[in-house]
Amino acid sequence: MNDDFSKTLADTCTELFTAYGVEVTPGGDTEPCTVAGIIGFVGAGLCGSVVIATVHNVSAASRPIPAANDVELVDWVGELANQLLGRVKNHYFLARGIDIQMSAPVTVKGQGLECLAGKATAMNFSSPVGSIVIWSELRLDEGFSIGPPIETESCATEGALEFF
């Protein structure tokens, strides 16, 4: 896994949950995940996916509005996956001149969710309300490489508002 991609993903995960009121710390033991948001992406020369897997308490604590039921808790994790990859797109891929298309997120719930697919990299995070695992996979076509950040037109950042 590309080190810069992993670092961006880890930093972005921390920022995202902090933005929603949950302080997370990289590392720590994980508990069995009960809900996950899965989102894929594709660009010229690459494809991949990111999974946020966590427990219901983390979803409940980070959700901006209290959930009325389990469906709403599960939906929120999908939106977290969407916002996580959105940030990674802006701060990692576009910063290197690489455009990616993001899929709509898919959510799953269960007991003891695990990612068993071959080359996914796992990053654990702990928080006062439960643990979080980010699984990610970034596949590059043969001969394709991702370089350092380049001079490129800036993206609108989180919270920005522009009128036309």
């Binding site: 933005a19 929603y20 959700r63 901006p64 509005i65 469906v71 709403e72 939906d75 929120w76 999908g78 939106e79 969407n82 916002q83 990859l85 959105g86 940030r87 797109k89 802006n90 576009l94 455009d99 993001m102 899929s103 709509a104 037109e153 800036s154 993206c155 609108a156 950042t157 989180e158 919270g159 920005a160 508002l161 522009e162 009128f163 036309f164």
Partner: protein, 124 residues
């Protein structure tokens, strides 16, 4: 009469979050779950003052929604504010050219969203 706003997002959480900000400020809120639903609701909901629309959605994305609505003469004057994780300049430009009135990147600040809604919504 309260202004009516259509919120288009495939996330129920975002629809609720935006809806709460707007209803607490006196707006009426209608929801759509994706771009296609959004187009249909625009066609069938009279007196809309504003649409707040995500970009990445199943069935039809938000920019395609703007393009479709603006092509339809009946609703061509309807203000549409994009609310999305996307920050890419080329996407913003495409939305602008299609006729959207603004672009906001998630997560949003409620007071900023409300200020935007008040600024660009048209009279009821």
């Amino acid at each position: 009469m309260a202004k009516k706003v259509l919120v288009v997002d495939d996330s129920s959480t975002v629809r609720q979050q935006v809806g709460l900000v707007l209803t607490q400020a006196g707006f009426q809120v209608v929801e759509a779950v994706d771009g296609l639903d959004g187009v249909n609701k625009i066609g069938s909901t009279p007196d809309l003052s504003l649409v707040i629309c995500d970009v990445n959605m199943p069935q039809m994305n938000g920019i395609e929604l703007v393009e479709k609505v603006m092509q339809d003469g009946k609703n061509a004057g309807l203000p549409i504010l994009m609310l999305t994780t996307e920050g890419q300049a080329s996407l913003i430009e495409r939305a602008k050219k299609a006729g959207a009135k603004g672009w906001m990147v998630k997560p949003f600040k409620p007071d900023l969203l409300l200020a935007a809604a008040n600024k660009i919504s048209r009279s009821a």
